[in-house]
Symmetry: C2
Subunit: 222 residues, 2 copies
DNA sequence: AAAATAATAATCGTTGAACAATATTGACAG
DNA sequence: CTGTCAATATTGTTCAACGATTATTATTTT
């Protein structure tokens, strides 16, 4: 994990490294990222790090305060509501308009299987990852690279919120079978029904996340 | 237009300045942007310019080739198709789910009026701008800042494509009254009908743009 | 003359240092 | 305890440098 392949440019690689730390919870919301400290830690120059900061700020994972520095974005109810709004717009439409034999359906099915297997051994981390794959596959039904990229960004932002919650397993486990139901409906060619199921699914998930979020004691504090 | 307000950071301001040049057609697709030349022209350092480049590359307006530099993105049929796919996903859903008395409807109506007025005096530039405002207002019906930001980005990319076309007035003028019809349906509370109208509208617009694009002689050449 | 090759120049990628501007900290006086 | 002001740290931006890669020109070879 030290010096990777130099295939791509430095700034995007740096951004990815930081992004991974963010979604892994190693950097907590509200925390300030010192340019000198991070640049020495990551063995890069301040300038290169600043390029990465700009990327992540644009992605919504960092917040930039002039002359004060960059901070890990602090998720809010508003941001969660906004993200779920985006998800419903994109995912539901993708399912409603899907071609039932789209290759992504196979990935959806595989993600359901992986989640089921991980669930039996209480591997909630894998369940969560499989769920992410499932929904990314849904978006892929729309066959748009721009939507895919946008969704990945939104998903990363949502994972930042999840990091604040105490029991993230509850956020994914109940939905495994709902995911399976959506795949079945897609297989049967019932796209409208699948979209409707997904919509209520997402609304319920949003409520659950918001409820868990409201239970956080010191939210709003750095 | 020289040195603006220093409210925001330099990199985003630089990005905006370059973005404006891109959609104004001052920088043509395929053209390489020299770091030293642009940085001296814009009176900024190479490092600051590179930060702006990263932003614009992420937006899809520039393309980055390792060790070769950044180039103005070259629109393709594939990118136009992709962008219209995104537009249908977002705009149609936004209209279908709209609250008829949403403030954005007023902006839609105002945009139609401005387009009509500009059309009578053959001011096609204003017609085009009003059309952009109209569709941005549509997206705003969904009340999502993330969707708004994403749409703005996509719209800028599309305008880059428009810059290649010979007679852009044909791309907007025929749609003024179709826009008006959508506003009327929204006023009447007929959101599904409005969404359906918008969908066929966008499909037709896509065909027109693709047809005009296919008539470009030397596309694919730098 | 045409093609291949070598030398040269130009550009990018990244770094480190520098300095001004702004923000934070801490001492001190009231 | 509170407000003021200097001292300190951090960001914002620029500049110069140099290795690495690419583009260009010159040279050689066939």
């Amino acid at each position: 994990m030290t010096d990777q392949d130099m295939t791509s440019a430095l700034a995007p690689r740096l951004a990815e490294a930081i992004r991974n730390k963010l979604i892994a919870g190693e950097l907590k919301p509200g925390h300030r990222l010192s340019e000198v400290k991070l640049s020495t830690d990551l063995q890069v120059s301040r300038n290169s790090l600043r390029e990465a900061f700009r990327l992540l700020t644009k992605e919504g994972l960092l917040r930039h305060e002039p002359n004060r520095g960059v901070f890990v974005a602090i998720p809010s109810m508003a941001s969660i509501i906004d993200i779920y709004r985006v998800r419903r717009v994109i995912e539901c439409r993708a399912v409603a308009q899907a071609y039932p034999k789209h290759p992504a359906v196979g990935r959806m099915r595989a993600a359901v299987e992986e989640a089921r297997a991980a669930s039996t051994r209480s591997d909630w981390g894998t369940v969560g990852s499989a769920n992410m794959v499932f929904h990314a596959a849904i978006v892929d039904l729309a066959d748009s690279e721009r939507l895919n990229a946008f969704y990945l960004q939104i998903a990363a932002e949502l994972r930042l919120s999840f990091g604040l919650l105490d029991s993230p397993e509850l956020l994914h486990e109940p939905y495994i079978e709902l995911n399976a139901a959506i795949v079945e409906k897609l297989d049967a060619g019932e796209m409208q029904e699948a979209a409707a199921a997904l919509e209520s699914y997402l609304l319920q998930s949003e409520r659950t996340v918001l409820a868990a979020f409201s239970r956080i004691p010191d939210k709003g504090k750095a």
